[in-house]
Amino acid sequence: MPRKTVIIGGGAAGLGSAGGVKAADPDAEVVVYTAYEDVAYSPCGIPYVHGGEIPDFERLFLAGKQAYVDAGIDIRYETEVTAIDTTAKTVTVAGEGAVGYDNLIIATGFDYADPGVPGGELGGLYYVKNIRQAMEWDKVIAGTKRAVVVEAGPLGLEMVTALAHRGVETHLIDPHPYALATMADPDIMAPVEESWRELGVHLHFNTTLEAFLGDGNGQVRAVQTSEGEIAAELVVVATHKTPSNALAAAAGLKLGSTGGIIVDGQMATSAPYVWAAGDVTEIPHGLTRTPLQGLTGSHAYAQGKTAGTNAGGGTRAYRAVYVPWGTPAGKWVIGGASFGEVTATALGIPYVKGEAQGISRARYYPGVQPVRVKLLAEPGTLRLIGAQMVGGGEGIKERADFLAQAIRFGMTLHDLSSMENVYSPAIGALNEPIAVAATNGVAAAAKQG
């Protein structure tokens, strides 16, 4: 009798889990329950279809439904799991009743934080998540003249740029003094904001959402903010991600201070035979050990692989995270790893800083782009603790990935200042901006004594 693994959720974590179970135990019975019509597509690509960079939604699908049938993964679409009983080892499924499992993986993902203001029931409020809904919303965007994006988090940044590219008069409201203020530094975001203004975007910082206002026919006509009313036919609600933890909480699983399910390095929860992965969990930061929730799709997929492998009887460990990140914003690409200056300052972590303004290719080669790198290091040891960057796009992602590994492996500014780098006019400049920033950081530290 094959062992049965039930997976709740068909996103990156859920499908990563299914693959992990099958890799560890090809004979395992794997059932995935998803509330949606599809699995195996990239929701992160949705803003880029809206913005016109990707021509259609079909390209976001990674595999057809038959691929999962062929892989022996039984996906139950549009099927809700309503309860978990970890003692009886069952889940309650709408239309199926109590379903037993040998192993359970919870990959229920995230919900947008409730804006907590009147008018949340109105039409015209767009929560970017589901691809079928996104296809319908794309038609709405085509006829939209004015839109408001609520909050300048990672998704908000992408949607502001997308709507501006579509020629929509776009207003961004955010309670902080600048965009992406919970993770990025103001000097990194300044050129992004300038490029949005060039695109005609209206930026309303230090501005709090107070209500969605209706037109009397159930549709939104404006948002009420702390700074006044902004008319809009469409409102993209891009509040921060919160763990979709209701099932887990009701089942008595332990939750952490983020609201995410508490897991260990095997992605095992507090209940026997129950694993969890993705945005519903919390993962410790590699330096502070403080748990973080709401990471990226690549984190969710890797966590799913880990949970699935272990549920399938194999052995796989997930590790604390150093959070490489990056995203296009306006005409720039921003990115980083671990801390920025603002988050380090907020936590009271001392640092020395090295900065450099470099270029992505030889200065004479067509297409050369600026790359600004800022490195933070522990005073004394000069061990790297964080980095932030802004540039034209080339190499920001790769540098963020590299710098996260540099932090993970304890590299210092001395190590980075003497790093070797590829030099080839079409793909790399003589001076690597990371090495220049590190050299400047070493000099700044020496000056500080």
Partner: protein
């Protein structure tokens, strides 16, 4: 209990961030957050943030690590330990 720690964490994170934005605005001329309004914001910014600021990092870290969370379960050690970085 988790909800208490959730409340504590979300408030402390938010107001420590606001204080950092205030500091950057004062020292570097970056955009400033709006002034605090109401007793709650004044408490967090005028009482909690200064108290947090005078605690040594080791004590702050100990308090943060004492909260319930994934960090208190078993994780693989860092690949090459060189002592605490922060």
């Amino acid at each position: 209990m988790a909800s208490f720690f959730g409340w504590l964490r979300s408030n402390s994170e938010h107001y420590l961030l606001v204080a950092a934005h205030q500091k950057f605005a004062r020292t570097r001329g970056t955009p400033a957050p709006r002034p605090p309004k109401g007793l709650k914001e004044i408490f967090w910014l005028k009482v909690f943030v200064p108290v947090y600021g005078v605690l040594p990092w080791s004590l702050r870290s100990t308090i943060m690590r004492a909260m319930p969370g994934s960090h208190r379960r078993t994780w693989a050690p860092p690949p090459r330990s060189q002592g605490p970085a922060v």
